[in-house]
C-alpha cells in the first residue's frame, strides 16, 4: 500500500532524560494512517521510553505530540487514551480471575436503564463482535487464567480497540508466541490496518519486521537514526543502523586458552525448557542466543538452583551435583548475574560494601562477628581490580550508574569465589564505554581460569565475544555454532525454528 491517508501521529523533537542518562534525544517520528511502523533498536536505544511517553507513564521533557494534526499534552494515561493511543505491553495486564468480557470492559462496563445497571448481555454481545472483527473464535465467558498467552494478548487487543483506538502500540508482541500464533497475530494486524488503525510495532525480530511493517524507524542510543521503507531495505542496512559503528572496535576479543571440561549438562528439564544438554570448558565463554520466550532465562535459573529441576543431570568436574537452591549453586562455585539486576542482583538501598560481600558473608570473620577491617580490605580490593566507580564503599548502590551496578554484582560473585559465572544480558541498559569494560573484564576472568555462560540477544555482541554459541528456541536447543561458523543469519534462523 503506497497511498497513505495522512499522518495520524507526529512526535517532534521529543527529549527525555533521567539522572545520568539521556533516554531520548531530539527524536522525531511520524506514523501514517493505516500503516504499520516498525521500531527497531538495541537494548537501551530508547524504545521503551518512547512507548511510556506515548502511554502517558512518563512525561516528556520537551517536544510535541500531534494526533491527527491536533496537539496533545499527554500528562497521564487518561489523556493518552483520550487521544486514541493504546498500548499493549509485553507483560500483559489482565485480571486473571475474571472473564474475557469483564477484562475487555474494565472500568467501562456498558450500563443501561435509569438505575445504571451493568448490561451483561450487551457486553457479551459487543465482546463477541470485537472478537469477530479480529476473526478470532473465543468464548467471552472464559476466565483469563485459563487462556494461553496468545489468547490473552488477543483479549488485550480487543480491549484496546473497544473504544476508538487510532494508534495501537505493540511492544514485542510475539515474544511468547509460537509461529502459528504469530501468523494469527499478523492476520489481526492486517485486519486492523484495513479498518484504519495505525500500528507502531516494536520488535527485535528483523524477520517479522520485514513481514509485517510498512516502514521501519531505527533508534540508537536515544536518537533516531533513520527511517526505511521495509520493502526497499535489507537486514544489513538495518543492523548497521542499529549498531552504528564498526563491530570490531566495539567488541574486543582476546584469544584465551581453553581447558578441560568443567561442567556437563545432560537432558536437563525444567519449567520453560526441555532436554538441555551441553558442556562448558574452563576459560571458555559460552553464549546462549534466543528470542524472548525461548527458555534461556529459565535454563540459567535452573542451573543456578532458582528454578526447580525436573529431570536430567548436571556434572561439575565429572561429579554429579544436585543443585537444589542458589545456596547449593554458590557452594558449587556457580554465580548468576541476573537479568533484572536491580530486583534480583542487588539490595539497592544497601551500600556497595554490603552488596559485594552479600554472597560471602560467612568469610567476613572467623567467628560470628564481622571483622570490619577485613571486609574493607576485601571490598577495596575488588573495587580496584574491577574498576568500580564509587566515592566511598558505603555509597548506596542505588546511586551508581548501570555499568557500575553491574560491576558490583560481578564483584559479589568474584568475592564468593565463583568459577562458573552466568551472565544474563550482561550489558543491558549500560552505556557503550562501560560495555567495553565489561567485555574486557569477562575475558580477564577467563584468563584466570573461570568459565562464563552468557545470554545475549545482541547479535553483534554474542558473535564477537562468545567462543561457542548455543541457540534456543521455544524451550529447545536448536543449534550450536563455534565462533568461526556462526553468522547473524544462522543464529536468527535457528532461533526461529
Amino acid at each position: 500500500m503506497s497511498e497513505y491517508n495522512g499522518i495520524v501521529l507526529r512526535m517532534e523533537h521529543i527529549t527525555k532524560t533521567f539522572p545520568g542518562v539521556v533516554a531520548l534525544d531530539d527524536v522525531s517520528i511520524d506514523l501514517n494512517k493505516g500503516e504499520v511502523l516498525g521500531i527497531l533498536g538495541e537494548n537501551g536505544a530508547g524504545k521503551s521510553t518512547l512507548i511510556k511517553i506515548l502511554a502517558g507513564n512518563y512525561i516528556k521533557d520537551s517536544g510535541d505530540i500531534y494526533v491527527d494534526g491536533q496537539k496533545f499534552e499527554i500528562k497521564g494515561p487518561a489523556e493518552a487514551v483520550a487521544s486514541g493511543i493504546r498500548v499493549i505491553y509485553q507483560e500483559l495486564n489482565t485480571l486473571n480471575n475474571l472473564t474475557v468480557t469483564e477484562n475487555i470492559f474494565i472500568g467501562e462496563q456498558i450500563i443501561k436503564g435509569p438505575f445504571r445497571i451493568v448490561d451483561w448481555k450487551a457486553m457479551t454481545k459487543k465482546a463477541n463482535e470485537l472478537l469477530d472483527t479480529l476473526n478470532v473464535k473465543l468464548d467471552p465467558n472464559t476466565i483469563i487464567g485459563d487462556l494461553t498467552v496468545s489468547e490473552k494478548q488477543i483479549v488485550e487487543i480487543a480491549k484496546a480497540i473497544s473504544k476508538e483506538a487510532k494508534i495501537l502500540v505493540m511492544d514485542e508482541p510475539t515474544a511468547a508466541l509460537s509461529e502459528e500464533e504469530t501468523q494469527s497475530l499478523f492476520k489481526i494486524i492486517k485486519t486492523l490496518k484495513s479498518k484504519g488503525v495505525s500500528i507502531i510495532y516494536i520488535s527485535h525480530r528483523l524477520k517479522e519486521i520485514f513481514e509485517i511493517a510498512d516502514r521501519v524507524t531505527v533508534l540508537r542510543d536515544g536518537k533516531k537514526v533513520d527511517t526505511f521503507n521495509a520493502r526497499n531495505t535489507n537486514e544489513n542496512e538495518l543492523v548497521t543502523s542499529m549498531v552504528g559503528r564498526d563491530i570490531k572496535d566495539m567488541y574486543p576479543k582476546r584469544e584465551v586458552p581453553i581447558g578441560e571440561k568443567i561442567m556437563e549438562v545432560k537432558n536437563l528439564i525444567s519449567d520453560g525448557f526441555n532436554n538441555a544438554s551441553f558442556n562448558l570448558r574452563k576459560g571458555e565463554i559460552l553464549g546462549i542466543f534466543g528470542l524472548l520466550g525461548s527458555g534461556r532465562t529459565s535454563l540459567v535459573k535452573a542451573l543456578f538452583g532458582a528454578n526447580k529441576i525436573k529431570g536430567g543431570e548436571i556434572f561439575i568436574y565429572g561429579k554429579k551435583v544436585n543443585i537444589k537452591s542458589p545456596n547449593v549453586a554458590r557452594g558449587e562455585r556457580i554465580g548468576l548475574v541476573p537479568l533484572d539486576r536491580k530486583v534480583e542482583g542487588l539490595a539497592l538501598l544497601m551500600s556497595v560494601k554490603e552488596n559485594i560481600t552479600l554472597a560471602n558473608i560467612e568469610d567476613l570473620g572467623k567467628n560470628f562477628l564481622i571483622m570490619k577491617s577485613l571486609e574493607r580490605e576485601k571490598v577495596i580490593k575488588w573495587i580496584n581490580e574491577i574498576g568500580i566507580k564509587t566515592p566511598t564503599i558505603d555509597q548506596e548502590v542505588n546511586s551508581l550508574s548501570g555499568g557500575n551496578q553491574q560491576k558490583v554484582v560481578l564483584a559479589k560473585w568474584l568475592e564468593s569465589g565463583s568459577q562458573i559465572i552466568i551472565l544474563n544480558e550482561p550489558t543491558r541498559g549500560i552505556d557503550v564505554g562501560a560495555k567495553i569494560e565489561i567485555y574486557n573484564l569477562m575475558q580477564d576472568l577467563c584468563e584466570r581460569g573461570a568459565s562464563i555462560i552468557m545470554i545475549s540477544s545482541e547479535l553483534p555482541e554474542i558473535l564477537s565475544i562468545a567462543d561457542r554459541i548455543i541457540v534456543m528456541s521455544k524451550g529447545r536447543f536448536t543449534a550450536e555454532y563455534s565462533r568461526e561458523e556462526a553468522s547473524e543469519e544462522q543464529l536468527l534462523h535457528s532461533a526461529c525454528l
Binding site: 542487588l346 539490595a347 538501598l349 544497601m350 570473620g365
Partner: protein, 327 residues
C-alpha cells in the same frame, strides 16, 4: 560530583543516628515533664522500680521482635505467648513441679510457639501478619483453657527471683536481663554476620535468596527466638505479679510494635535499629506509666495506644514515601 555524593552519604548515616538522638532527647524531656506533673509520686522509687521492671519485660520481647521485623516479617502473637506462658507456669507450679523445671518447660513452650509461627510463615507460606494474628488467638485460647479462665497463684522461690530478685542486692533481676538481651541483640544486629543477613533479607529478600542466603532458615530462627524471648517475658511478668492470668499480655502487641516502629524500624523490613527500639520502649513505657499513675481508666489508655500506633506508622510511612522517590 563525587564530593557531593560522599557528603550526602555520611549525612544519611548522621540522619539515622540523629533520629535516635532526638528520640532520647524527647525521652528526657518527657521524663522531666512527668516528674513535675506527677509529683511527688512519679519520680520516686516506689514508681520507678516497678516501671523499670515492667519496661524490662516488654523491652526484652521488643528487642528480639525488632529482629523479626527488620527481616520483613512481624509477630502479633507475642502477647498471647505471654499469657500462655504465664498460665502454663502457674498451673505447673500448682501441680508441684520444681521451679527450675517449670522454667525450662515454659521456655521450651515458647520455642514451640515460635517454631510454629516460623513454620507457618516459611514452610506453609502464610503471610506473617495474618498467621500471627491467628496464633495470637490460639495461644490466648490455650491460656484460658489451662486455667479455666481463672487466675492461678504462681509463687515459687526460683520463679520469684526472676521478677523480684536482685543482683548485688540493688539491681532488679529483670533489668539485668533487659540489659543483657539488649546488648546481645545490638551485637547481633550491628556487628554480626547473622545481623547482616537479616538486614539484607529485609531490604531485598529475592536478591538475598539469589545470592545464596538461606532466607527461610534465617526467618525461621528469628521466629523461634522471638517465641523463646516472649516466654521469658511471660515468666518475668508472672513473677512480678505472682499470678498466672490468661489476660496477661493482652494488648501488648500494640505497644511493642508501636515502640519498634517509633524507634525507626520500617514495617516492610530492611531498616531498624536496636537502639531505636530501646528509645521507643523507654518513651512509651514512660508514657503509659504516667497515664496509669494519673488514674486514667485502662480502656482510655488503650485508646491512646491505638492512636499512638496509627500516628507512629503514619509518620514513618510519610518518611518512607519521601525516601522512595529517590529510587
Amino acid at each position: 560530583m563525587a564530593e557531593i555524593k560522599a557528603a550526602w552519604v555520611s549525612q544519611k548515616k548522621k540522619f539515622r543516628l540523629n533520629n535516635i538522638a532526638v528520640l532520647f532527647i524527647i525521652l528526657v524531656v518527657m521524663f522531666g515533664v512527668f516528674s513535675y506533673v506527677g509529683r511527688p509520686f512519679f519520680f520516686s522509687v516506689l514508681n520507678l522500680i516497678p516501671m523499670l521492671n515492667n519496661l524490662s519485660f516488654i523491652g526484652i520481647v521488643a528487642a528480639v521482635l525488632t529482629m523479626v521485623m527488620v527481616s520483613g516479617e512481624i509477630d502479633f502473637s507475642v502477647g498471647g505467648n505471654i499469657g500462655l506462658t504465664a498460665c502454663l507456669t502457674a498451673v505447673l507450679l500448682s501441680k508441684g513441679l520444681p521451679g527450675w523445671l517449670v522454667i525450662i518447660i515454659a521456655l521450651a513452650a515458647g520455642a514451640c510457639m515460635g517454631a510454629f509461627n516460623g513454620f507457618l510463615v516459611t514452610v506453609v507460606g502464610v503471610n506473617s501478619i495474618i498467621a500471627t494474628i491467628g496464633t495470637m488467638f490460639i495461644w490466648r485460647g490455650i491460656a484460658y483453657t489451662l486455667t479455666n479462665g481463672e487466675s492461678v497463684l504462681a509463687m515459687n522461690p526460683v520463679l520469684d527471683y526472676i521478677g523480684r530478685g536482685f543482683i548485688f542486692k540493688v539491681i532488679p533481676f529483670p533489668i539485668v536481663l533487659f540489659v543483657i538481651i539488649f546488648v546481645i541483640t545490638y551485637i547481633i544486629m550491628n556487628l554480626s554476620k547473622w545481623g547482616r543477613k537479616i538486614y539484607a533479607i529485609g531490604t531485598n529478600p529475592l536478591a538475598s535468596y539469589l545470592s545464596g542466603i538461606n532466607v527461610k532458615k534465617v526467618k525461621f530462627i528469628n521466629f523461634l527466638f522471638c517465641g523463646i524471648t516472649a516466654s521469658l517475658g511471660g515468666l518475668i511478668l508472672t513473677s512480678l505479679t505472682a499470678v498466672g492470668m490468661p489476660q496477661h499480655g493482652q494488648g501488648l502487641e500494640l505497644v511493642i510494635i508501636s515502640a519498634i516502629v517509633l524507634g525507626g524500624t520500617a514495617l516492610g523490613g530492611g531498616k531498624g535499629q536496636i537502639l531505636g527500639t530501646l528509645a521507643g520502649i523507654l518513651i512509651l513505657s514512660e508514657l503509659y506509666n504516667f497515664l496509669t499513675i494519673m488514674n486514667v481508666y485502662y480502656f482510655y489508655i488503650q485508646m491512646v495506644q491505638g492512636t499512638v500506633l496509627i500516628l507512629v506508622v503514619a509518620t514513618y510511612e510519610a518518611r518512607q514515601a519521601m525516601a522512595k522517590r529517590r529510587i
